[in-house]
Subunit: 729 residues, 2 copies
């Protein structure tokens, strides 16, 4: 009881500080979106379990937005064919469904309620001022043990059920699935006894719903989750205090406890000391640097029209939050500086799937092979961004509107931000050297536009940036921060360890092991380079030999262009010892001097998945078998791990689709790229990880006739702001 | 004459604009270093040739700094054992040498006059307030056809000549070598006739001194340069107007013309249209974004003590310009947040060598296999940075002091800048997910310190950044911008080309081919991780199999640590299909839980050199045969291509040193890393290239007990500045 009251007081203190910060920040910052603590909503199953935990009163995902935000969203109407479902539309889905024969008098849960995007051609044809194509919702529901994929037509009120075939797997968990699973074990006296035996007060318990993966019949025919728990005693960073080895298998539909495994009896729970990362929990702080801020005396250069259309410099694109992908960028177009025309670059780009296998074969760890988008919802886990820290001043914030399990819409405020960035970098430069002595020094600063979200999939935080450059380049960057998933251990020093490799990781602190793991983030990139008709070209650099008669030089490199005819030609394992450029060209369009108009995918942050291709997790994660894939556009192929990923057998992955080896030349094609990270934890990752980032680029290559930013001006001093310190500082 | 007067007027106009900009910028910007146009200095050979070119009156490398700067440098005294030679010391070298028997009554040229750094132990022992170790100069001179390596002792006045052995090659060209070579061909009536026959007015000629490389006896026993020329008619961007195929071989010592080759008679000189990149040369400009600026209401957080000691946040390092390396970072130390101690990270880091082979075996191109540091002087080519554009507001600028060929010191003003950067990025973050519902959102902004220089090695601009992070990471980044080295061509459209591969590049514009080339930039990193006694450890990630009895999982990755015993163990060809981490550890020091204290080199921007190892250019560039090397510390092994690189045979490279296979375990070791770029030009690179960057990191790995920036504060709104637009804007 003592610990509980310490925590409660900490919470009050923390809330008070937050409120103070909020009050301060509202004075001059962009629209703030501090959520009020919600009432326990009637449709939520959480209220029942809420007695058991310090945090149960705050189901943050159902936050009630401020009146201002609520009013804005209630009044919202779709203005673009790709606009996400509005609050009104979601309520209409709920209404239609409740009256439909499939649902009447049945218990059901909705696992996804999003816009069913109109056909690509209809979107491409649409111009502002035109009526919108018919609005429809794509709904994934569970009714009586079946997963249904439905289209709900707002006009006709019709509900169409789609054949899902024999594909294995289950829909994305609802947040209600996840939260209710975390309470489920408490219904078991055995579980409670075990927890107490490990020295943990039940009131300090914090549990996580871990997707089980699929390893055979144990993970078939039932929707499962494995629950593992931690103690919150003495720290907000309960992730560092695992009750190691205790795993509870729960049926997600019945909430039945199927199995309790206790393999950690002898493993102490690591200490709370030095684990809390909150500012208010520090005894002292180090101010290492003076304040620094991105300032724009004339304000930002971008606008967000009609809620979702971002216009900045020479770029324009449609931006929306999505419960599964996090963020979807659509219809990205760049202005040609000579013709003034907006030219297509990418029809749609999104985070399709993540695959995060941990590298420990033991009982409590082997199954940790997460697919965060399809299992947890990458967007569902994206929390409100922190103004001035997650995004700089002058950022614009966009809310997500998602559906709860019963279909009720809720607002995830400030889920995405858009801002301009300037790091002091150089867009292009040339100074004449002392050799020529010409007095030339021409330098142009580099300013970019960043679209950011940050998903907190339990412990880990993924920061996803789409960064647009005025020279036509798009950089897609993923930053990893947050908290490691750690393993409790009897070891307090490596000198107690016979064979360090058998730790499956690094001893980070006394009794804490950071387990080795990989992160793969697979992007869906429906490139439309100056139109939808594209080809994929590998420009391979090969060593050539010159004869002695021909040249004093023995060897040089030649660029050999090879157009990929079919999907298998475009299954690329990147090898720096056999380098290529990867072009997406429009074979029907050429520059004035005759080069095919194109963009190239510039790999970066490449880590290869080394799991055995026949390993069950790798069958499911087979979309990481190659770093690049190209498929013909198919509206149903968007999620690299399949439509239903939880417990899937890998029968609906990008690998499977690509094996069909369809033609991809002169077609509307989709390019897939996987960023990868091998993560061998180190002590600096404890108790919270400094951000590690990787990125790849989409870069114009003979897309423009020449440098498209030749005639941008340099910075002049009187364009820059005049600043002083805040008088209240 | 008409063209000449147009150019003259352009120049006046441009100068006037520059002066206006300068006047505007001086009002509120950091110390400005606009150079006055110098008189034709008496020691310069340029005056004689100056009649022949529009730019000959402006030997920018000998710029006379403003009175203020001149006074500062005249008064400078060394305050740290690693401080570069002062103006006074350089004058003293000149004085001592002139009186020395080796030099008396002889024609000589000085190719390098820099500090001879004291022994490492003496530097490590030195503390502020101690007397400096004896100051000495390291001098490379040419006298009577011989290259001399000398030590000049300021105390004793003694000159020691060092044995240079049988190593091939010549010292770095002096800027006088380079500029005089560009005039040499004009002495030939044949050359002049050829130029005129190609339709170029001699007064429009701009020529470049191109290092010849080494391909056998043609490049032996004489110091050579190949001169190729361009026309400046109608554009400041003469690089886009090559007189293709015309090559003049010049003896650098005698200025004798050895050979004139004309293989381009039928190749037109490309048009001037759309090539000029200067702001003043644009008919119109596009302002794509509103002004944006990094603002620091309390000023920057760093100081530069005693001219060269940079202190910022938890970092401290010595910084100096260098004529060959560009920038040298020494004694980089980071503060341990728990003990408060400054801990060693890197004793010395620098750009050791560049290798830039072009991929065209034909007569006018095969030899283009540049080594920009050893041949041209990477620092000699680094021009003054442009405030507000090369570096943001609040940057600190550092001048270089270099010696002309006769030993006279001159100031390269604002050659290096130091600034703080904030791009809106995140140092670390965690928000609690909707699963737990805890109200936590902790985010810390990421602020870094950047040290920057930009070398303009004729056409190309290399931007080199050393970026320090508060979490202990050092990022070393190279940006490429500037202007392509292009090839004139008869083609105006690719449809005229039978086999595009035989272009050896890309048709960028009518009659302009961008030739394929590589850039390799090799860094010398004398790591002293918590002391000089270090080992190099490969942490190899290998697939392991679990038996079915052991785990439902089939495969996982294990991290196997392997300590490199000798140099050959540490010749690393990076292979993403067999991934490793590369640790530099202090084997005598462990963290509290027993991990070896270390830093890791995190590769990035890896491009493999694919030339045949026996190709003469690749023998010289053999230091790029591996991406990572480790050698035992040896003060004489600093330049990866050898002390004398021009026309070297590759007998003094890092490959040769490493082949000795010396022990590197528990030793003072030096790590070498090569960043690489394959560059297949595209039209966007015309007429000036948007910057392309790559980087690699030095990252603490179990160096700190835990996250060293756990207790830094977030941004609060009243810490940030209050800004408005400049009233004069």
């Amino acid at each position: 009881m003592d610990a509980r009251s310490v925590l409660r007081h900490s919470f009050y203190l923390f809330s008070a500080v937050l409120l103070t910060l909020f009050t301060l920040s509202i004075l001059s910052s962009p629209p703030s979106h501090k959520a009020e603590l919600p009432d326990c909503a009637p449709h939520s199953s959480l209220c029942h379990a809420s007695k058991n935990s310090i945090y149960s009163k705050r189901p943050a995902f159902l936050q009630t937005p401020t009146e201002h935000i609520r009013r804005r969203h209630s009044a919202a109407v779709p203005l673009h064919p790709l606009d996400p479902l509005t609050v009104t539309e979601m309520n209409r889905v709920k209404e239609i469904i409740q009256k439909h024969e499939l649902f009447i008098n049945k218990a059901y849960s909705l696992h996804s309620v999003v816009l069913e995007e109109p056909e690509k051609q209809a979107v491409l044809r649409w111009r502002k001022g035109n009526p919108l194509p018919p609005r429809k919702a794509a709904v994934v529901a569970r009714i009586g043990g079946a997963s249904l994929v439905l289209t709900v037509d707002f006009g006709s009120g019709e509900v169409v059920r789609h054949e899902t075939g024999q594909a294995s797997g289950y829909p994305t968990m609802t947040v209600e699935d996840m939260t209710s699973a975390t309470w489920a074990p408490l219904a078991s006296a055995d579980f409670n006894r075990t927890v107490v035996a490990r020295g943990v007060d039940l009131s300090d318990l914090a549990c996580l719903p871990l997707s089980t993966g699929w390893f055979g019949k144990n993970e078939e025919n039932r929707r499962l989750v494995k629950v593992q728990c931690y103690t919150t005693e003495g720290t907000a960073n309960f992730y560092m205090r695992p009750i190691e080895g205790l795993t509870v298998v729960v049926d997600l539909d019945s909430h039945e406890i199927l199995e309790i495994t206790e393999k950690g009896k002898d493993i102490p729970i690591p200490n709370a000391a030095n684990t809390d990362y909150r500012f208010t929990a520090q005894n002292s702080y180090q101010r290492l640097v003076n304040p620094i801020s991105l300032e724009q005396p004339k304000g930002p250069s971008f606008t967000v029209e009609d809620n979702h259309l971002v216009k900045w410099a020479n770029w324009e694109f449609h931006l929306k939050p999505d419960p599964r992908a996090g963020v979807i960028i659509s219809r990205a177009m760049v202005r040609d500086p000579w013709t003034g025309d907006m030219r297509d670059v990418m029809y749609k780009g999104l985070t399709s799937e993540l695959f995060v296998p941990y590298m420990d074969p033991t009982d409590a760890w082997y199954f940790k092979t997460y697919m965060d988008a399809g299992e947890y919802g990458f967007g569902l886990q994206a929390m409100p961004l922190d103004p001035l820290n997650d995004c700089p001043r002058n950022a614009h914030y966009m809310d997500g509107v998602f559906a709860a399990a019963d279909g009720t819409p809720y607002v995830r405020s400030s889920m995405v931000c858009v801002f301009e960035s300037y790091a002091g970098d150089i867009a292009w430069r040339h100074a004449e050297s002392p050799i020529t002595g010409m007095e030339i020094r021409e330098v142009r600063p580099k300013v970019t536009l960043v679209v950011r979200m940050a998903a907190s999939v339990a412990n880990y935080d993924y920061i996803v940036d789409w960064e647009f450059q005025t020279d036509g380049l798009i950089r897609i960057k993923v930053g990893l921060s947050g908290i490691l998933m750690v393993k409790g251990s009897t070891y307090s020093n490596t000198n107690q360890v016979n064979n360090e490799e058998d730790l499956y990781g690094t001893l980070l602190s006394e009794n804490v092991i950071g387990v080795i793991h990989d992160h793969f983030i697979t992007f869906y990139l429906d490139m439309d380079v100056d139109g939808a008709n594209n080809s994929f070209v590998k420009v391979n650099l090969q060593r050539e030999y010159a004869s002695p008669a021909e040249s004093p030089r023995m060897s040089y490199l030649k660029a050999l262009r090879k157009v990929a005819k079919t999907e298998k030609d475009a299954q690329v394992k990147i090898n720096i010892h056999d380098p290529s450029e990867f072009h997406i060209v429009n074979p029907t369009k050429k520059t004035k001097v005759g080069n095919p108009i194109g963009y190239k995918l510039v790999p970066g942050g490449t880590a290869v998945n080394l799991l055995d291709p026949n390993d069950p997790p790798q069958q499911r994660g087979a979309f990481t078998n190659n770093q690049i894939w190209v498929t013909p556009y198919n509206a149903s192929e968007q999620w690299a791990g399949g439509e239903f990923v939880s417990q899937s057998h890998g029968d609906d992955t990008l690998q499977m689709w690509s094996n069909r080896d369809r033609g991809i030349e002169k077609k509307d094609i989709v390019v897939w790229y996987t960023l990868g990270f091998h993560h061998v934890p180190c002590q600096e990752d404890f108790p919270i990880m400094p951000t590690v980032s990787s990125s790849f680029d989409l870069k114009p290559v003979n897309f423009f006739e020449s440098n498209p930013i030749l005639n941008i001006p340099p910075n002049f001093v009187n364009d820059l702001p005049v600043c002083k310190a805040d008088a209240s500082a």
